[in-house]
Symmetry: C2
Subunit: 555 residues, 2 copies
């Protein structure tokens, strides 16, 4: 083992920021995550760079905005050559290991252009966001041509769960009171117990796999980052007993929505509300079925984390492992008359983030909260710093959070950014918006949340006077709102025109460009004096020192 701490980076999938007891949920008790918060820092203003799995994760794994890495929606491959956290950690001799979900699709065209075999070591890594894949599980294995048989399927079969699609029939099915299998793809079945015991569910399985990796790594000399990436509480919403009926209607918090929101004149917001998934989740009976299962999945996750943390304690790993817990985005659950995610209300774009650093230098902040504006892309540079990797501001756009964790000054951010590409959505078709223009971007400064919608007027919320984001000020003619919109647009323009793709230009390369004169490239010098005044050395020192030039024509 080295002196460098290891990093366990736990990510839940689709976990809202407010469905944990340490984040204030009145009925969902999550003691193990709360305990992590008690020995670390709990961040209260963490925003993902896109409110949907794929792009949010690609931002997390590259430390870069969606604008920069270009994987703007699910299923859009992360381009070959986009540097990842794994690349940076390997550069300093550390491992970056995946256990679970990345939502990554391989860029096969890009690999072909560069002659990279997708089955080679580098090809596999390029297909997994730069991670070494100890276990990959993207969690969805529908029964179709697109189905991918997973290691978890093998695991189920090895335990005697026999089926052509073990994931579907066991993990993703519920059992009704008559013993009949009911698919978890249908929301009405959410409250049934899953057809698999808890200890064989995907959440337990991935927890076991993380332990297997850490066990194996004990004999290894390299520091590691393990990305333990759960597939839950993401839909399909189904959970094994006893979690399936641990929560009932009395534990469901009210939806964050107002009748006035339904009267919006904003075409894009209207199109969202009219989209099928939003109409579904706006119905109370859907919430009443889904939310108890969603809460059960979170409770199960917390219990598994408790099991994991106890095991780490027993193995002596806790004292040398920084643990981060977060999520890739939230879940509307009917808030604002919307379902799933894909827009910028806090229900979807804000996530929990807890980081516990066991080192004495972090003692001053244990059990505290930080209200700083955090972006998910801050984790990559934080972990790079832990592993001794120098900052790479030309590539990594997030900011190292260590100063916050160690109670020091130095972290500042004026605003957070999130982006969304809705070109594949029914809203784009309903509004007849092209693939090119089906894009929105949010900029939030801690008070004002401004959402630019290409082709439509902007949306503006004042979270100070309207913390629930009910009142859209995007068309308000009150002077302060007009001015805020102008300021936010300027900030967005400045951000959008930054050098997001200038990834090969280290600060040193940029600083060196100026030495053209020193290497003998002289631009705009009239004569020797002119040169010598600037360069401080005689012009003749530049001339060849060999034989005087002459043509010895041998031909």
């Amino acid at each position: 083992m080295t002196d460098t701490p290891n990093v366990l980076w736990i990510m839940a999938d689709q976990l809202r920021f407010d469905y944990l007891s340490c984040y204030g949920h009145p009925h969902l008790n999550t003691p193990h995550i709360d305990a992590l918060a008690a020995r670390g820092v709990r961040f209260t203003n963490t925003y993902v760079q896109s409110p949907v799995c794929g792009p949010s994760r690609m931002s997390a794994y590259t430390g870069r905005y969606v604008r920069s890495h270009g994987s703007t929606w699910n299923g859009i491959p992360l381009r070959v050559g986009e540097p990842t956290l794994g690349d940076h950690l390997r550069d300093v001799g550390a491992r970056a290991v995946l256990v679970g979900k990345t939502h990554m699709i391989a860029d096969l065209d890009g690999m072909a252009w560069l002659g990279i075999d997708p089955k080679s070591e580098i090809g596999v890594r390029v297909s997994e966001c730069g991670f070494e894949a100890f276990e990959r599980d993207d969690g969805l294995h529908p029964d179709s041509v697109a189905q991918k048989w997973s290691a978890y399927d093998d695991y189920l079969v090895s335990l005697g769960y026999v089926s052509d699609n073990p994931w579907e029939d066991f993990a993703n099915s519920g059992v009704d009171p008559d013993g009949k299998l009911m698919s978890a793809w249908l929301l009405k079945n959410s409250r049934l117990p899953a057809n698999v015991p808890e200890e064989h569910s995907e959440t337990a399985y991935l927890t076991n796999r993380a332990m297997a990796f850490m066990e194996e790594a004990i004999s290894d000399d390299k520091p590691w980052l393990c990305h333990l990436s759960y597939i839950k509480p993401h839909w399909p919403y189904i959970v094994p007993a006893p979690y399936h009926d641990m929560y009932g209607p009395e534990h469901i918090v009210d939806p964050i929505r107002s009748l006035a929101e339904k009267e919006t004149d904003h075409p894009l917001l209207r199109a969202y509300q009219q989209a099928r998934v939003c109409r579904t989740f706006s119905q109370d009976h859907v919430r009443e079925h889904v939310i108890p299962a969603y809460m059960g999945l979170i409770k199960q996750l917390d219990d598994n984390l408790g099991r994991l943390f106890a095991w780490m304690d027993a193995k002596g790993l806790t004292e040398n492992t920084i643990i981060a817990f977060t999520s890739d985005h939230g879940d509307y659950m009917g808030d604002h008359w919307m379902g799933d995610k894909d827009f910028y209300h806090d229900s979807a774009v804000k996530v929990p983030l807890v980081i516990a650093d066991p080192r004495p230098v972090a003692n001053v902040t244990r059990g505290t909260t930080s209200d700083a504006l955090i972006e998910m892309i801050d984790l990559a540079p934080t972990f790079m710093g832990v592993m001794g990797c120098a900052p790479k501001p030309h590539i990594v756009e997030g900011r190292d959070l260590m100063s916050i964790l160690h109670g020091k000054d130095g972290f500042s951010r004026r605003f957070v950014i999130s982006e969304h590409d809705y070109s594949s959505f029914e809203m784009a078709r309903a509004l007849n918006v092209s693939q090119e223009n089906a894009r929105t971007v949010m900029i939030f400064d801690g008070r004002w949340k401004y959402i630019r919608c290409e082709g439509f007027r902007p949306i503006l919320f004042d979270l100070e006077s309207d913390p629930h984001e009910f009142i859209d000020l995007g068309a308000s003619d009150i002077a302060v709102h007009v001015q805020v919109r102008k300021d936010m647009e300027q900030a967005l323009l400045s951000w959008a025109t930054q050098h997001h793709s200038r990834i090969t230009a280290t600060p040193e390369i940029l600083a060196c460009q100026d030495n053209a004169t020193e290497v003998g490239i002289l631009i705009g010098f009239w004569d020797e004096d002119d040169y010598e005044t600037v360069a401080g050395k005689p012009f003749s020192s530049l001339l060849p020192v060999g034989a005087p030039a002459s043509r010895k024509n041998s031909s």
Copy 2:
């Protein structure tokens, strides 16, 4: 030979749009380029995507904005994985061959991450913007540690030009009346004849090398694009006899400048004017020495093109070769009290462009001009179209010009964009601007030229009332100017927030994303009826068709 035409893409370096007789120069007669224009289309409004070699060329070779490819200034490597014209042409079985300059620096870090050997076939291609390098010559070989011995140096040595730095001592030195060698790095020596006969100069050498490639390719079955990329009339300004004294003060056109320009209150413009190279070229004696040499270099280039075109006629190549002639940017030559390039007046950012398509379908446009707004990134998709490569709008941001060449409707563009990164310049230090913020971007709609300068007020020219760009309206409070600035800023924001990096998302991938339901990923369906109404097929068709699920616990 195939039916697909070949493409000869000739690029001059630092050639202003107005220093050719077909573009109206009163004293510089360029009959061979004029003849090309007479059998093709001459474009009168062609803008480069950055007014400096490296980024302008990377845009030309990728068909993408500087924002997109990220090589924002000279010496900043084009990242591995940035798709090039060469990649696209190879995909359809055509060759993309380099003869001359690219200004490319290899991305060694990127190659290391992907396990690509820089010496391998793919490594060499990746180091040359995707071209197969028949001849590489970036044209500057100063006598220093950075000196690169070139194939042209070998050529000189083989002819008996013996020196430790043949390029410097022969091609880049003048001979004074006493027979003494004088360095062309100093502008005062610009009017001396180069110490090499014309037929052994770099311009003649590259012309010969293009012929050698075409000769070799005759026996090849693949269609080709040959990028013949001259290193002149770029500085150092020196030309062999008889071109060195073909032009005198009587042939120099007046500088485009006004005394009022010197009184600008714009901090960045003032810093440019105070930069050394601009002060140098603002002096009349500098112009009087340099411009005759610059004109001589252009005349020599035209004569070499005459020689090349005659050779192609004799070889029967003309009838099957589309020829394009252009430049990577202009040269201020003292206009606007500025020197070299690196800003957005037409002297620097506007270039000549002539394209001659020998096919009968282009007969209707021979000898015509087009005033359409053209970007240099339009050439790549034009050549892709010629070679039968389908459009790739997710990667290539330029537009196919063939409709213009064939006299058809279909080409339109609202504005052209150019960008500049001045982080390495003395202006950045004089104004204390960070590497991050030393950036400008121009948007021009054919009348209004708006220049956004991060951290400073914008600059605005009205080329209709002020074709010489003397009057900066960036702070004008006249209503129309205020409105134009607002409109241009909106257009810029829309452009900047486009998906410049979404290069792995083909239109088909984006369209397919919507079929999640078809592959069995069901989001937000309450029950079977709900699914069947949307999907038009029974829900049960999604379920596994194998044995009913049951645990046969063998353990």
